[in-house]
């Protein structure tokens, strides 16, 4: 549904988006991650046709956003950053306006407006001017505007920004359920949201795509992915380290806490060996007759991976950004 081909954007001498290409199909929720100023919002503005790309092209269901803009824009629902609206209008009047400009009229218009007022919990404020609303309500009003015409393509710039935890949860659920039959791009810098709603992740840093894959794959790049953490009762960390470090499958041991020793064991090799690692560790512990309170395999921390791949100020980071396979080994090293 959404196809970006070699999109480049210069703002004067500054390169904001550097050769970005990707595709989002129906049924996909793409998480757009990146540090502030990485080019997320710019890319989204290009996708929605607000600013033209310097080079490259955007297609929305086969319609070029520059040449066939009206047809393409009909298919898009867009929630811009900071959720702008017309402050002097009431919520209902604003949504009516959007419905009309989206080509709805009569009963269909009223139905659409009622539907989004309900699904975005705006009932209580429908007659209030938007400028008098709290940030959360204002945000939801703009969110409502973007899904009003039930578009097949949704582009949302930080849809949960400024919401309280309950509202965040609601919005994530809503996006996830809409993702089943729409193509959705969501930008965020809250990593837990990626788990909550996305089935694919693109990380963009200094205008370049530095990662494009599933959330699990992203987590797999973490140092700690596949490591086993155990808490062993009544043992000292150093003792545990020397004993468990001797197991043939264990590459190294790090002590996280003393007392009831909390240690993390890193496996040797990868692939199949890693799968059986937890079992091997637990066998080793039983062999020693040590009691343990906790044993789990780490799935990896998104935050850590995020930091590792977006620190592009270094030469190393820039190299990681380009090569997929190398990056993996570099991260593990």
């Amino acid at each position: 549904m959404i196809k970006a081909q070699n999109v480049v954007k210069w703002f004067g001498p500054t390169l904001a988006v550097d050769n970005v290409s990707f595709e989002v199909k129906r049924g996909e929720v793409l998480g757009f991650l990146g540090p502030n100023g990485a080019g997320k919002s710019t890319t989204m503005r290009i996708i929605t046709g607000f600013i033209p790309p310097s080079r490259g092209r955007i297609e929305i269901d086969g319609h070029d956003i520059e040449e066939d803009g009206i047809a393409a824009k009909r298919l898009i629902g867009y929630l811009p950053e900071n959720a702008p609206a017309y402050p002097e209008m009431s919520v209902a009047a604003f949504l009516m306006f959007v419905a009309e400009i989206r080509g709805l009229s009569g009963a269909a218009k009223r139905e659409a407006v009622e539907r989004v007022i309900k699904s975005c919990f705006l009932e209580r404020v429908r007659h209030q001017p938007i400028e008098t609303l709290s940030k959360g309500y204002r945000h939801r009003t703009c969110f409502a505007q973007s899904i009003l015409h039930d578009p097949p393509v949704l582009v949302m710039d930080e849809p949960t920004d400024g919401l309280d935890p309950n509202q965040k949860h609601e919005v994530r659920q809503l996006i996830k359920s809409m993702g089943q039959n729409k193509a959705i791009i969501v930008s965020t810098h809250i990593l837990e949201e990626v788990d909550a709603m996305c089935n694919r992740v693109i990380i963009i840093d200094r205008g370049r795509v530095v990662f494009n894959g599933g959330p699990d794959e992203l987590r797999g790049r973490s140092d700690v992915a596949g490591a086993v953490t155990v808490r062993i009762r009544d043992r000292k960390g150093d003792e545990v380290r020397s004993v468990l470090g001797a197991l043939p499958q264990v590459a190294r041991v790090s002590v996280l806490g003393d007392g009831g020793a909390l240690v993390r064991l890193f496996p040797k090799g990868d692939g199949a060996a890693r799968g059986a690692f937890a079992a091997a560790v637990s066998d080793g512990l039983r062999g020693k007759g040590w009691a343990f309170d906790e044993l789990h395999t780490e799935s990896g921390e998104l935050e850590e991976v995020f930091r590792a791949i977006t620190q592009s100020d270094t030469v190393d980071g820039a190299r990681k950004a380009t090569g997929g396979g190398e990056a993996k080994s570099a991260a593990a090293a």
Partner: protein, 243 residues
């Protein structure tokens, strides 16, 4: 057409949902009355005409029209709603025209509300209705001309003050280029063809003709070509400054 109307309707609704519209209309009417009666000596003239009413309009509108038009695009820029508007399935033309027409209609409404003065002059004497009608047409066209220029200047900046001042300066040029006191002074040292050429850009000669009751096609062409040019430029500016 439908999109233009939807945008114009929203814009007009916004005018009247804030006190600005009412304040503007009141100030407009008060100033019109003040200039007509106090400065223009409406009664002392002892004429059944509205000359002392219309004569001030190009000067009065010089400040009032940019005040109404300064927010056209700068407000959209400032609040970020321009990003919503231009990512909707409407062309930039429809948006520009919709917003312009809304503001012009609003100004037209303020102008219509000066009708008591027409009633007064009809009550007191026997004025030439045709001249009054063409006078109103002239005033409305001057409003449109200034407004289109305000639309252009407001598309450049998100700052309404900058937008206001720029548009006053441009409109002032449109007055002075053909204002007799200025042209009479310039003609003493500049060649006549140059003075006339520059004066042709001015609103004044066209406005004066309409005040005399002469409805000439050329005067209409003048107004609509300035409006067309200014709105076209608005489109170019919006396109080039989307980034």
């Amino acid at each position: 057409m439908r999109n233009i109307w939807v945008i114009a309707k929203r814009e007009l609704g916004s005018y009247f949902s804030s006190p600005v519209a009412y304040v503007f209309i009141v100030i407009f009417l008060v100033l019109c009355g003040f200039f007509t009666f106090m400065v223009g000596n409406f009664f002392a003239r002892n004429e059944a005409s509205l000359a002392s009413f219309f004569i001030w309009h190009p000067w009065l509108f010089l400040f009032l029209v940019p005040a109404a038009g300064m927010r056209l695009w700068s407000e959209e820029r400032r609040s970020g709603s321009i990003e919503l508007l231009l990512t909707m399935p409407v062309t930039a033309w429809q948006a520009i025209l919709g917003k312009f027409l809304a503001a012009w209609l609003f100004l037209g409404l303020a102008l219509v509300l000066t009708f008591p003065i027409v009633v007064t002059v009809i009550y007191l004497g026997a004025p030439d209705i045709g001249v009054i009608v063409s006078g109103y047409i002239g005033s409305f066209l001057v409003m449109g001309t200034y407004l289109a220029i305000s639309s252009m200047t407001s598309s450049v900046t998100r700052n309404q003050v900058v937008s206001f001042i720029t548009s006053v300066v441009v409109c002032l040029f449109l007055i002075l280029a053909g204002w007799p006191p200025v042209t009479n002074m310039v003609v003493t040292w500049a060649p006549a063809w140059l003075v006339e050429g520059v004066a042709a850009f001015s609103v004044i000669p066209h406005f004066d003709a309409l005040q005399r009751g002469v409805l000439d096609l050329r005067d209409l062409v003048y107004s609509f070509s300035v409006i067309g040019f200014a709105l076209f430029t608005t489109g170019v500016i919006l396109r080039s400054r989307r980034a």
